[in-house]
């Protein structure tokens, strides 16, 4: 029989029991949709992570100060604590820049939390003291006004560039440019507002992604002059004072192949001058590789789950085909008497299961494309009806954008047809192996 005839016959036989066939199709549909959705969500999450890591720069090496663990536990006597000094030194920065030829440029940065205030509006800001290069390196563009300049550095001016969100919160009505905001005890003139910037990957062991929405940027020289290295904070009734010269140094090399070697040199260089490990060297390229491995593992896991749902769908199909075969025993007898071989009977019933599972597969692929709109609708729903829940969700979940992987569509459809064949063989063989005389007598 020709292919078209086989398919048509399959469809018509299945239409004899519309509800039953529809349920079998539904089983496969759900399985295929599950494959596509799960892979799309997984790809969405890992794509986000990869973008964030890429934002850090594949050719950059990030050296960050970290508070040594033993030191803080020894001093946890309460009351007033004498300052602990740790972290990267300005000398370290000089040494890195002068001693390592592969480094194209390096940008130092100091970071603390401070309240930022304009009249009655105040937010907990993240003060980033940096050089003008910091903007270029982090791909921060200026929406209005200007970025920090070399002149600001040389003149120790009290100028500040606000992150987009900070500007919006502090100046709901007024134009922030040329206004003075209070950071800690000092006043700074707003010279520029940065454009919106999405979060970057977590570095330095913290799980949160690097957010840019609470940042205020001041010149590094001004920071040193006005605030200084030693920073005291009140925390839980006790003062803590820390002396940190630089929070972070970002070094950029020319070529991605130099990253690992340069990172090793930086490590050994710092090791020589630091008694304790109060710094961390983070290589975004490594993070990227880790993320790739993680993604592969994640995909295997998702495929396993999706595979189980397709298996369940397949069992549903088998069940229905067994019922069909029993019901159509008479037809099988007739066809055998009229010349059909066992192989032709097997073929006929296999085509039927393939039509079932293929229909499920096609509809599943269509439903798979609804992943994006569904996530958007779900997000809008949570935002509208459960705003508290929404607020507690981590940004990774809030901003998730499913990305449908083309391979998952092909794989899901192929697997569904495969499931049809595998689970169709037993019922089809059972049909073919019936004794035609018995089958003709069957009521």
């Amino acid at each position: 029989m020709k292919l078209f005839q086989q398919l048509r016959l399959g469809f018509r036989s299945l239409l004899l029991h519309k509800l039953r066939s529809a349920l079998a199709v539904l089983g496969i549909l759900i399985g295929v949709t599950a494959v596509i959705w799960l892979v799309a969500l997984g790809e969405g999450v890992s794509w986000q992570a990869q973008q964030q890591i890429k934002d850090l720069g594949a050719t950059s090496i990030i050296v960050r100060s970290i508070k040594p663990a033993e030191e803080s536990s020894q001093n946890s006597g309460g009351g007033f604590r004498m300052g602990i000094a740790y972290g990267l030194l300005r000398d370290d920065y000089e040494r890195i820049v002068t001693n390592i030829p592969t480094i194209q440029r390096a940008v130092p940065m100091r970071e603390i939390s401070r309240e930022v205030r304009y009249r009655e509006q105040a937010i907990d800001g993240q003060v980033i003291a940096c050089t003008p290069e910091y903007f270029g390196m982090n791909r921060l563009s200026i929406a209005r006004g200007r970025a920090l300049s070399e002149i600001d550095m040389q003149t120790y001016d009290n100028v500040v560039v606000l992150a987009h969100e900070v500007a919006e919160k502090l100046f709901p009505i007024e134009d922030p440019l040329e206004r003075s905001v209070q950071i800690g005890t000092e006043f700074y003139v707003v010279v520029g507002i940065a454009a919106e910037r999405s979060a970057a990957a977590a570095i330095g062991g913290s799980l949160d992604a690097r957010q840019y929405d609470r940042d205020v940027y001041i010149p590094l020289s001004t920071f040193r002059a006005r605030i200084g290295d030693r920073v005291a904070t009140m925390r839980a009734g006790s003062f803590q004072s820390e002396t940190v010269e630089l929070t972070q140094v970002t070094a950029v090399v020319d070529d991605m192949n130099q990253v690992d070697a340069t990172a090793d040199i930086i490590r050994s260089l710092l090791q020589r001058y630091h008694k304790q490990v109060d710094y961390a060297v983070v290589v975004p390229k490594e993070l990227l590789e880790q993320a790739e491995t993680l993604r592969a593992m994640f995909n295997v896991l998702l495929l396993l789950i999706a595979g189980i749902s397709l298996l369940v769908g397949g069992i549903g199909i088998m069940n229905i085909m067994l019922a069909t075969v029993t019901e159509r025993t008479r037809e099988i007898g007739i066809r055998r008497a009229l010349g059909a071989t066992k192989g032709e009977i097997v073929q006929q019933f296999l085509w039927e299961t393939v039509v079932l599972s293929g229909t499920g597969g096609l509809l599943g692929v269509l439903a798979g494309f609804l992943c994006g709109p569904t996530v958007t609708a779900f997000r809008a729903g949570v935002q509208a009806f459960f705003p508290q829940v929404w607020a507690t969700l981590p940004p990774n979940i809030r901003n998730i954008e499913p990305r449908i992987a083309p391979w998952s569509i092909i794989a899901a459809f192929a697997i569904s047809v495969g499931v049809g064949i595998v689970f169709g063989i037993y019922p089809a063989r059972r049909a073919a192996n019936m004794d035609p005389i018995e089958a003709l007598r069957h009521e």
Partner: protein, 236 residues
């Protein structure tokens, strides 16, 4: 005993055919050394009480069952010992079946039912669909090509079955109680149709237990306990 009809080509012949079943240690001889020749254009009615072996003989003749012993020559070859696939091909190529309960496929239309044997022909028969329409016309169902079996009367369904039995141009048509489910008037119509086909040269072997139906054939073979009791020519 007259067991080989004189004259004409023999299209099918059973020679000393036995069928033995084992039932709980007992050997049951459903057929016991049966020999009959069927000439081209023959019309044979097989009669006998239930258990006489007439169904078993029809199954052997229809290549649905293999004899335990003996030869079955169909279209010049001994098919008694052939494998399942070859037997399927032989059924599709040389035999036409008419059943008591019509045995049409419910989800197919009249013309599609007639077509079914054609889908198992290798190589495929040319102008198949045209042939099916002509046969439907022949049995008087030209106006009902698209109907489903459930929309037809018993007599009409049996006409479809007859057209289906003719579509592969078989050497022998095997009819199993073709009027068993029909009223008297319709039975006569069907018998008229079979008689017309026989006059046109078709070889028909029919199992029946009704004397007046058997009388319409040319020869009557009576079976008893798996053996041939008598073979008689019908006079009219």
């Amino acid at each position: 005993m007259v067991n080989v009809a004189e004259g004409g080509d023999v299209v099918a012949a059973v020679r000393d055919v036995s069928k033995i079943y084992s039932l709980g240690g007992h050997q049951v001889r459903a057929l016991d050394g049966v020999s009959i020749d069927f000439r081209r254009g023959d019309y044979v009615a097989i009669m006998g009480s239930s258990g006489s072996g007439k169904s078993t003989l029809l199954n052997v003749l229809g290549c649905l069952d293999r004899p335990t012993k003996g030869q079955y020559i169909l279209a010049g070859q001994d098919v008694a010992a052939m494998d399942d696939e070859t037997l399927s091909r032989i059924r599709g190529r040389y035999l036409g079946f008419i059943f008591q309960s019509y045995n049409l496929i419910q989800q197919l239309s009249v013309v599609e039912n007639i077509e079914v044997p054609l889908s198992y022909q290798y190589p495929p028969m040319p102008d198949g669909p045209e042939r099916c329409r002509k046969l439907a016309e022949l049995v008087g169902l030209a106006q009902r090509l698209g109907h489903r079996p459930t929309e037809l009367s018993g007599g009409q369904q049996q006409r479809v079955a007859i057209a289906r039995a003719l579509v592969n141009n078989p050497h022998v048509i095997l009819a199993d109680e073709p009027t068993g489910n029909l009223d008297t008037a319709t039975s006569h119509e069907i018998m008229d149709l079979l008689e017309a086909l026989n006059r046109a040269g078709r070889t028909i072997v029919m199992v029946t237990h009704e004397n007046d139906i058997a009388e319409r054939a040319r020869r009557i073979v009576r079976l008893r306990d798996g053996k041939i009791e008598s073979i008689s020519e019908v006079r009219r």
